[in-house]
């Protein structure tokens, strides 16, 4: 009996193999890399929704060529993103890659893009600073900001409007939170605030009690740059311990996906400011229509597009716009297409004008938001300030900004 089972299994393995049908040569193939497994799966899935939205808007074709989307999953590790990209390029023969989701993956794909000059890489939602700032790659484009750009406006708001002088930092110990902390502290320290202590936690930590009880009693607020379950865990435990300092959020700390999570800790977030490029309850006309088409197309999605849907959408949208401009012409190692991408300007869902700097990094809109309770009891973010035209040097002189060196646990510092 077992033998028959084995035979059937092996036969179906072989049979499935025969289904690898090649696509027609005129199709434009877009490979998408997102995280569809593990802790980030729900966020990665929302990124895919952004892609589907952009392709659906274009009617699934560009200048008479069908768009074929091929999805690969990575698992947040750089190795997996590189393997996924190589498979998309070498096996599926994609022309353009949109992705990845997380910072370390973005750096890895930036490195990889140098080995594949004939393929164009358009970033998804990864936001490490050095992906474009240092050692950038000619065929890697980011129609969005980095983690520091996403915090612009918050430091000044916390100091000048909320009157915070001393803030403790709790953040995960890797590149993206370092960049977020830079974006916050850059403004906050310049405005005269101090950050006496920074707590770096391993990503995926579940117990934060030692940090909860080490937070100095004399700080005015806590800047929390944690994501997903880490943020929920920290806020829960801080709340359970009776902690009552106001929270300042990083860009993925108070994202819609977290506001849609279940749990009593959410009450503590009401009124918390955060910096983000994506605001679920923004009332700009462009965002309203973007959000409406999202909820119409994906009734099972979040109650509004997340940062991931928004950024994957912008990446795919930019690629499609540039393809339309060159009538789908990808010849000559995509030279015309890339020139079109480089000079592209379009109105973003947040109402600003997206364009790239010389490192092919987006000059973006950023929002300072605060959490509020809607009438139905759910939570949303509302805008308290819009900062337009944020560049990667955060408005400073680019040379001086670069000279401050790469971000780390100790850079910047203002105890």
């Amino acid at each position: 009996m077992f033998t028959n089972l084995k035979t059937i299994t092996m036969t179906s393995v072989l049979a499935l193999g025969a289904f690898a049908a090649p696509a027609s040569a005129d199709d434009i193939k877009i490979g998408v890399i997102s995280i569809l497994e593990g802790a980030f799966a729900a966020l990665g899935q929302d990124g895919i929704r952004g892609i589907e939205l952009a392709v659906a808007e274009a009617g699934g074709e560009v200048a008479g060529n069908d768009i074929e989307v091929i999805v690969m999953s990575s698992d947040a590790s750089p190795d997996s993103a590189v393997n996924a990209a190589r498979k998309l390029i070498e096996q599926d023969g994609v022309d353009i890659i949109v992705g990845p989701l997380s910072g370390s993956e973005g750096l890895a794909l930036r490195d990889l893009s140098k080995s594949f000059p004939a393929i164009t890489f358009v970033n998804g939602s990864s936001a490490a600073q050095d992906t474009t700032l240092r050692d950038s790659s000619d065929n890697f484009f980011r129609f969005g900001g980095d983690g520091a750009q996403w915090m612009v406006g918050v430091g000044n708001y916390a100091h000048d409007d909320l009157g915070y002088e001393k803030v403790a930092v709790v953040a995960e110990d890797y590149s993206f939170p370092y960049t977020q902390v830079l974006g916050f502290m850059g403004e906050f320290c310049a405005a005269g605030g101090t950050v006496p202590e920074k707590f770096w936690t391993p990503i995926g930590a579940s117990d934060y009690s030692s940090i909860v009880y080490s937070i100095p009693a004399d700080v005015d607020a806590i800047f929390v740059a944690l994501g997903g379950a880490d943020a929920v865990n920290f806020l829960t435990q801080y709340n359970q311990a009776g902690g009552d300092k106001p929270i300042i959020g990083g860009s993925i700390t108070i994202d819609q996906s977290i506001l849609d999570s279940e749990g009593p800790f959410k009450q503590q977030l009401i009124g918390a400011p955060a910096g983000t490029p994506t605001v679920s309850d923004f009332d700009g006309a462009e965002w309203k229509s973007f959000s409406a088409s999202y909820t119409e197309q994906f009734p099972d999605g979040f109650s509004a597009p997340s940062i991931f849907a928004h950024h994957y959408y912008m990446g795919a949208h930019a690629a499609i716009l540039a393809l339309e401009e060159v009538n789908g012409d990808l010849s000559g190692d995509q030279a015309a297409f890339r020139a079109a991408l480089t000079d592209l300007q379009f109105v973003t869902p947040t109402g600003g004008t997206m364009r790239l700097d010389e490192n092919r990094n987006g000059i973006v809109d950023n929002f300072v938001t605060e959490v509020f309770e809607r009438e139905d009891g759910t939570l949303g973010n509302r805008v308290v300030k819009v900062v337009r035209d944020v560049d990667q040097s955060l408005g400073q002189d680019p040379a001086a900004f670069l000279a401050q060196g790469p971000v780390s646990r100790d850079n910047p510092s203002c105890p």
Partner: protein, 536 residues
């Protein structure tokens, strides 16, 4: 003083939580010698069901009960349907439970989605609790945790030590045959133990979801893939499929070597490979400004030596451990190394790790170009295979096998076993290190991800699906693994490919006890109308 008390309390409450989470696992392991890797999935299931029950009824204790019962039922089902079939075959039980955990995690992700849940606490337990001595607030739920853990611990001890059921369970562990002869249904007793373990996991899941939160991702995540596509010898197939398979095969070979000739299953092979990889990264050209560059002809021997030494060290630590104890201790070493690389910035550059690692150039041609690289990989793989085959026939190799078969006799004739075991691990380190060097050139990067639980389990899966009896099994398993890893997502709804992967893994583990190599061998012998040799 306050600080001291707080730290102590933090330690105690966290320990209580871990005790609750681990007690079910320990119970099953202690009584049945089953390493139930699906325990985490049971915990998650209990947490989710508890969340639903608590939300529907508004009563927190009902949530705990509901979550516990759901996980108990699932646990009984696992033992009855799958693990009970391999009672006594610990490795296959371990692997089957890994496969189950993948399937369960993926199905739960499907049903409950990837968002984070937190179970609402009763009002009495919400917020801080002023401790008389401390003068500061302390989370009430955490104090309840300690009480809960103590209650569970005492009840468990009472059940095992003082009740008739406990006595039967203990008897079943000591002498199954005798118990059966006395008229007890041993299989049923083991199912009860599993249900009890599941109950504990489920309740712990709900409590953990109240104190922390639940979300997918705590489970083992790895891929076992599914597909064969018509063969084109382009660079993709050359390097991404066959090259990668051979590299992983070399690392798995070091595990197969230990399993076949020393009789231990080691989870630390990815760690030894990682040591070599990190050595190459630290002393070679990289783009992260950590380490210092040495010429490659110095770096390569150094990396091999480091990997060999790491193997010897792990051997020294694990020298007295056999069977599942060797699995546990090597797994502990591997996970400790993973966390160390993630948090140490001086030598390992933490989370980010090393990138921009380049294979050396010889007379202007990079070894990383597809064809030279592939030829190099084949050469190394062939060397390693030859080396293993030669080594096992050498006096030391024969002594290693003697230690596997009868350590006491080896001692009796005056050969100390420790140096023999350590040198077997060291040799495995050398093989794994060769694979590790190739792997770091292949990936052109190394970071904590490369030595994490994912790669550790991948290597084990490769070795087991290939077959642990013969060195070539490692390469067969690696090829199957890489094909499935690369193409699974193409052949199934992209949201559910992990379920399929788990099912295939389970099918191989249940249907082919000697892995693909054993399967192929028995097919071949049947094809030739020869009687199948009974392999024991």
């Amino acid at each position: 003083m306050t600080f001291f008390l707080i730290v102590t309390l933090n330690g105690l409450t966290l320990a209580a939580l871990y005790f609750l989470a681990a007690s079910g696992f320990t119970l099953i392991f202690g009584l049945m010698r089953t390493v139930n890797m699906a325990h985490g999935a049971l915990l998650l299931l209990g947490g989710y069901v508890g969340f639903e029950v608590a939300k529907a009824t508004g009563v927190w204790p009902l949530g705990i009960l509901g979550g516990g019962l759901a996980a108990a039922f699932a646990g009984a089902l696992i033992q009855f349907g799958i693990l009970g079939r391999f009672q006594g075959d610990e490795l296959r039980q371990t692997l089957a439970s890994i496969a189950l955990s993948i399937i369960m995690a993926d199905l739960m992700l499907w049903y409950w989605g990837g968002i984070t849940y937190q179970v609402a606490l009763p009002d009495a337990l919400t917020g801080g609790f002023k401790l008389p001595l401390l003068g500061v607030g302390y989370a009430a739920i955490r104090l309840v945790l300690i009480v809960f853990a103590v209650v569970i611990g005492i009840s468990l001890w009472l059940i095992i030590a003082k009740t008739r059921l406990g006595a039967i369970i203990r008897a079943g562990v000591d002498d199954r045959e005798m118990l059966r002869a006395l008229g007890f249904d041993v299989a049923k007793i083991f199912i009860i133990v599993f249900a009890l373990g599941g109950l504990l996991a489920g309740m712990a899941g709900v409590v953990a979801a109240s104190a922390l939160s639940i979300a997918p991702g705590t489970d083992l995540q790895f891929l076992l893939p599914f597909a064969l596509v018509p063969l084109f010898a382009n660079d993709f197939w050359l390097i991404q499929i066959f090259g990668r398979a051979l590299i992983l095969g070399i690392i798995a070979l070091s595990l197969t070597f230990l399993a076949a000739y020393l009789g231990v299953v080691s989870f630390a092979q990815a760690t030894m490979a990682g040591v070599a990889g990190y050595t190459v990264a630290y002393f070679g050209p990289n783009t992260v400004d950590v380490g210092r560059e040495l010429p490659f002809y110095v770096v390569l021997p150094l990396a091999m030596i480091m990997a060999t030494l790491s193997g010897a060290l792990i051997g020294l630590i694990a020298r007295r451990s056999q069977g599942i104890y060797a699995i546990m201790i090597t797994l502990a070493v591997g996970v400790a190394f993973f966390y160390f690389t993630r948090q140490n910035y001086t030598y390992f550059n933490g989370w980010t790790g090393f990138s921009g690692i380049r294979a050396p150039e010889i007379s202007g041609r990079s070894l990383r170009e597809p064809l030279p690289f592939y030829l190099l990989i084949i050469l190394v793989a062939a060397l390693c295979l030859t080396f293993v085959n030669g080594f096992i026939k050498s006096p030391l190799g024969l002594t290693i096998q003697a230690v596997r078969d009868g350590p006491k006799r080896v001692l009796a004739i005056g050969i100390p076993t420790t140096p023999v075991i350590v040198s077997a691990y060291a040799f495995a380190g050398l093989i794994a290190g060769s694979g590790g060097i190739l792997n770091v050139w292949y990936q052109e990067r190394i970071s904590s991800f490369s030595v994490g639980l994912g790669p550790i389990v991948d290597i084990l899966v490769i070795a087991v699906i290939g077959g642990l009896k013969h060195p070539i099994g490692a390469f067969i398993g690696a090829l199957a693994f890489v094909l499935l890893d690369t193409f699974a997502v193409d052949f199934i709804d992209r949201e559910r490919f992990n379920t399929l992967i788990g099912l295939v893994l389970l099918a191989i583990i249940m249907g082919a006890p000697d892995g693909l190599h054993g399967l192929a061998k028995s097919w071949l012998s049947r094809f030739k109308n020869r009687p199948i040799k009974n392999q024991v």
